[in-house]
């Protein structure tokens, strides 16, 4: 009995570390009362480092479940947990490098970020819908507070308010959908629903539920997908994204666009994989999954087209990046229409590419925003000469976002396109074509940033050097190129992490 307890604790150690560090940061902020020191930031990053170390240590062998089977520890979960740690570390680095950030409540800032990270950990590490919702809510609550972190700013308060209203509504819809599924199957566990595990008590599989009450299952599916769609900002649940992204402090925007979105994808991927894609899954459920795939295809098509067309019309770079992240969510969904293992791997590969290029792009935005105090295209005029290294890195990120070689963004698009074309005799060719044509459209607005940096005359803005941020951005730009030229580790990592079935 004791063994089981210890093993459980061992499996949960990254979560425990994260929780401990978040509390430590909150307390030390009160004890030190220091303003302008970056000690708390380094403590947070060290905590994330320790959590990542524990995750990597157990990457190959610590697989199992704990807390009566509710928390699942597997490589798939570890992939997204590592992803979260890596994103949070960079976001905290951004907070430290953001000169305009007032330092009086910095402990809370880190506490909320780490708390959101913990929510993600539980979200991506469970087969139980109940814990999934709890993790999602933990992430959301922390995010609402973060979006409104600049209390005095009207924009920030408005962002938080919008986020709460939209978030609360969509979470409600999702929970309602889950309750319908629970009513039909008598279980919260995805594997029991799928018929790949034995349930406790009176349960039945989704296959039976589909035959007896197809309309209810369809309604439940639409509602649950809607809840996920909110988190990953997919149409028609994306309306919050531009306003919230624009109003939030830029590091928080980065967090929402990268870590929070990847978490939503992590949970969605697991939901779809366990319920529909496993080879042991009942045939009827598998066929139902194909139909869910076509629903996802429509969502993908609408999302990327809307996101791109809206991004073209923006005058604020931050808003443009917000719409672009909507479009990118659509691209990831394109991989999911395959509804098979390679599709999930492609989605994960794309998310890694998305991490590399989007963190870089937001970092560049933060860098120039800190210098000029503005976030419009025009404020970038001629900065290519004033800050050549950052601007060249910016071009690398933009090219990567467009999906052109020689950057990892191209490889991501290639993998996604390949996954979607490989199924159903190329019936999703139209979707892939639409995705690539969308990337042509996106070239226009991404290159607009390059145009203002390099092609427009400077209006005399000078740039104070920020060496730490500059190094971080140049390293990210280099990684964007290196991971195309040497993509084997990336491919190996994503395929090793696909152990859901």
């Amino acid at each position: 009995m004791q063994d089981i307890h210890l093993k459980g604790f061992g499996l949960l150690s990254p979560e425990l570390v994260l929780g401990a560090v978040s509390l430590l940061v909150l307390i030390m902020d009160l004890v030190w009362k220091e303003r302008g020191s970056s000690r708390l930031g380094w403590i947070s990053i060290a905590g994330l480092g320790l959590a990542s170390f524990l995750l990597l240590l157990g990457f190959d062998d610590s697989v199992g479940d704990t807390a009566f089977g509710i928390v699942v520890v597997d490589k798939f979960g570890n992939f997204f947990k590592l992803f979260t740690c890596a994103s949070l570390a960079v976001v905290i680095g951004f907070v430290m490098g953001d000169h305009r950030e007032r330092r009086d409540r910095i402990g809370e800032y880190y506490f909320l970020l780490l708390g959101a990270g913990m929510g993600i950990f539980f979200m991506v590490g469970t087969n139980n819908m109940m814990l999934l919702v709890l993790g999602l809510e933990l992430l959301s609550l922390a995010s609402y507070a973060l979006a409104g972190f600049h209390k005095g700013e009207k924009r920030s308060a408005e962002a938080a308010m919008k986020y709460v209203v939209f978030g609360g509504f969509s979470a409600g819809v999702m929970v309602y959908g889950i309750s319908l599924l629970y009513g039909l199957t008598g279980t919260m566990d995805l594997q029991v629903m799928a018929g790949t595990a034995e349930g406790v008590g009176l349960t039945r599989s989704l296959a039976e539920a589909v035959t007896t009450s197809p309309a209810t299952v369809a309604l439940a599916m639409v509602m649950i997908l809607g809840g996920f769609a909110f988190k990953i900002s997919v149409a028609p649940f994306h309306f919050w994204a531009p306003d919230v992204y624009e109003g939030s402090p830029t590091p928080v925007t980065t967090f929402l666009a990268v870590a929070s979105k990847a978490a939503g994808f992590g949970a969605l991927l697991r939901f779809l994989a366990v319920l529909f894609m496993s080879p042991d899954v009942a045939a009827a459920v598998g066929e139902y999954g194909i139909q869910v795939g076509s629903l996802i295809a429509i969502m993908a098509a609408v999302t990327m087209t809307l996101g791109n067309l809206a991004a073209v019309r923006q005058e604020s770079v931050k808003r443009m990046l917000a719409y672009s992240s909507v479009a990118h969510a659509g691209y990831v969904l394109v991989a999911l229409v395959a509804m098979n293992g390679p599709g999930l791997e492609a989605a994960m590969l794309y998310l890694v590419a998305y991490y590399l290029m989007n963190l870089g792009a937001f970092g560049v935005l933060l860098y120039f925003q800190g210098q000029t105090g503005k976030e419009t295209y025009a404020s970038l005029n001629g900065l290519g000469r004033a800050a050549p290294l950052i601007s060249v890195s910016a071009v690398v990120f933009l090219v990567s976002l467009t999906g052109l070689p020689p950057t990892v963004g191209f490889f991501g698009k290639l993998a996604v396109a390949k996954a979607a074309l490989a199924v159903q005799d190329g019936a999703y060719g139209w979707l892939v074509l639409l995705m690539l044509l969308n990337s042509v459209v996106s070239l226009y607005y991404y290159m607009r940033v390059a145009k203002h940096l390099f092609l427009k005359e400077s209006d005399g803005t000078t740039v104070r050097p920020q060496p730490a941020m500059a190094i971080l951005l140049v390293v990210f730009a280099a990684l964007n190129v290196i991971f195309l030229l040497y993509s084997a580790p990336l491919l190996k990592w994503t395929s090793a992490s696909m152990d859901l079935f």
């Binding site: 396109a417 390949k418 190329g426 070239l443 390059a450 491919l491």
Partner: protein, 511 residues
């Protein structure tokens, strides 16, 4: 196996491609004030590839040998379902274009002297462009081909966008968007074919195409190969550019600085034609044969329409730009005819257009640097103040016109004869129509020369210095080639013929 870093038969192509990239890195390390050193590095990083390519031409390359030569193949991304190799090699069709690339890159460096706001970034981007273009010509792996194909877009965008004319921003993004729209079609065809047969190797894909082994599904009533053919064709047709995909070209050409126009007309357009015979026709030969006549028609429209529009231009450079549309139409017509003469003529025409149009852009650049405008109607009598320039300009434009004895004549005549011999007799009508283009070409070139050089001297141009040594240095090798290949075309044809025969055997059924 040789070490990867020594210069040997298997690594020489890689060196030719990547020496400009090494030069670019070196330039980025030099402080920006030291322009003479930067220019020196740029000159060296383009001169060494030229020497190496010449060595390949006269040394390592076996004339008349079948298949690809100087092949280097290394595994690149070989994880799971991805099997991608770094495979490079050349045959008689790519070698002349590789050599032309190295030559024009080398010429572009001294020709850049008069570009305003010149800086080290300009030379760095120029060298990156050179690396990308050469890479396309030597790639034997379609994935690698695609990577190089896209790599050259970005430097081109900035070279036009930063150092171009008044409407440079519009022209640069238009060029970028057009080409990218084509490349995504190429990409989708590429992925579909990879999923079908599991290879990115161009020779293997050609073998599959010849055996008719593409098994992909029919979509919307069109076979898999037809889809692939049209997607690939449009990607390359935008680059050629053939009617109706040509509208980016005049803008890009007019706004680009002279050396960039030279590279654009001299090499970038050849990528389209080369792409067709390397990456489109032999890979889906049956779909190509079914649609050859359509391509012939598009070629003829390009010839006549390009020439007709050129006739109406008042901007000297815009006129030359439209003449490129017209001349590249011959390439398409020759290829579509599916005869050995036509194919040889098309390949030769690509090289000849590379030299003659590059020369024409340099010639326009010379007068533009002095007058700072290109309005054909505002010149007049320039021959009186710049006699040497007049002579060279007439030479260059006559080469472009296709005067007998000049290179353009041989290749255009060959494509027309080849098209006339085509099995599909409808091509004979196309040849007749395209002769109209030849007449129009003579008209716009002679009329332009007359307006610029002859007539009473405009007082404004009185004090103009004649063409200087640097300008002649850039121009001379191109004019020399126009003349030599006009008299001895077999210098090039001997190199190409074996590869053309091989290509024809891939394209024709059952041979």
């Amino acid at each position: 196996m040789d070490s990867l870093l020594t210069l040997s038969e298997s690594t020489i192509l890689t060196w030719i491609t990547f020496i400009p990239l090494i030069g670019m890195t070196a330039i980025l390390c030099v402080p920006r004030q030291n322009m003479s050193l930067i220019k020196g590095i740029a000159g060296l990083a383009t001169f060494i590839p030229l020497v190496l390519a010449t060595m390949v031409y006269f040394g390592d390359f076996q004339t008349g040998a079948n298949g690809y030569q100087l092949v280097q193949s290394l595994p690149w991304i070989t994880v799971g379902e991805f099997q991608i190799n770094y495979t490079v090699g050349i045959d008689g069709l790519s070698l002349p274009l590789v050599w032309l690339t190295t030559l024009l890159m080398f010429i572009a460096v001294p020709a850049s002297e008069t570009v305003p706001r010149l800086s080290k970034a300009y030379y760095a981007l120029l060298l990156l462009l050179g690396c990308g273009i050469t890479g396309v010509f030597i790639s034997l792996d379609y994935f690698l081909f695609y990577v190089f194909w896209e790599v050259m877009l970005l430097p081109m965008y900035f070279l036009i966008g930063i150092w171009g004319g008044p409407k440079r921003e519009y022209a640069a993004i238009k060029f970028f968007l057009y080409t990218l729209a084509g490349s995504v079609l190429m990409l989708i065809a590429l992925i579909a074919m990879y999923l079908d047969q599991g290879t990115f190797s161009i020779p293997e894909m050609m073998a599959i195409g010849k055996a008719g082994m593409w098994t992909g599904p029919e979509l919307l009533g069109m076979s898999f190969t037809t889809w692939a053919f049209w997607f690939l064709f449009i990607a390359f047709a935008i680059k050629i550019p053939c009617f109706p995909f040509h509208t980016w070209l005049p803008d890009a050409h007019v706004q680009a600085p002279t050396p960039i126009s030279v590279i654009l007309a001299g090499i970038l357009l050849k990528l389209g034609g080369y792409g067709l015979i390397r990456g489109c026709f032999p890979i889906v030969p049956d779909a190509f044969r079914d649609n050859a006549y359509v391509l012939g028609v598009l070629g003829v429209i390009s010839i006549v329409y390009g020439a007709y529009v050129a006739l109406g231009q008042t901007d000297f450079k815009r006129m030359v730009a439209y003449s490129s549309v017209s001349h590249m139409g011959f390439v398409l017509l020759g290829m579509a005819a599916l005869t050995e003469w036509g194919m040889n003529g098309a390949a030769l025409q690509m090289f000849n257009h590379g030299t003659s149009s590059a020369a024409c852009f340099l010639i326009v650049g010379v007068i533009y640097d002095r007058a700072h405008h290109r309005d054909l109607n505002a010149f007049g009598g320039v021959a009186q103040v710049m006699p040497r320039y007049w002579a060279l300009a007439t030479f260059g434009f006559f080469a472009s016109l296709g005067l007998p004895g000049m290179a353009g004549f041989v290749s255009e005549a060959m494509t027309l004869v080849g098209a006339f011999q085509a099995e599909d007799t409808r091509f004979q009508i196309l040849v007749l129509i395209s002769c109209l283009g030849v007449v129009l070409t003579a008209a716009y070139i002679l009329w332009a020369l007359q307006r610029v050089f002859l007539g009473p001297l405009n007082e404004k141009y009185k004090g103009y210095p004649d063409i200087n040594g640097r300008e002649v240095f850039s121009l001379a090798p191109l004019l020399f080639l126009c003349l030599v290949l006009g008299i001895f075309p077999f210098y090039l044809l001997d190199w190409m013929d074996t590869s053309v025969v091989e290509l024809m055997s891939l394209l024709k059924p059952g041979s």
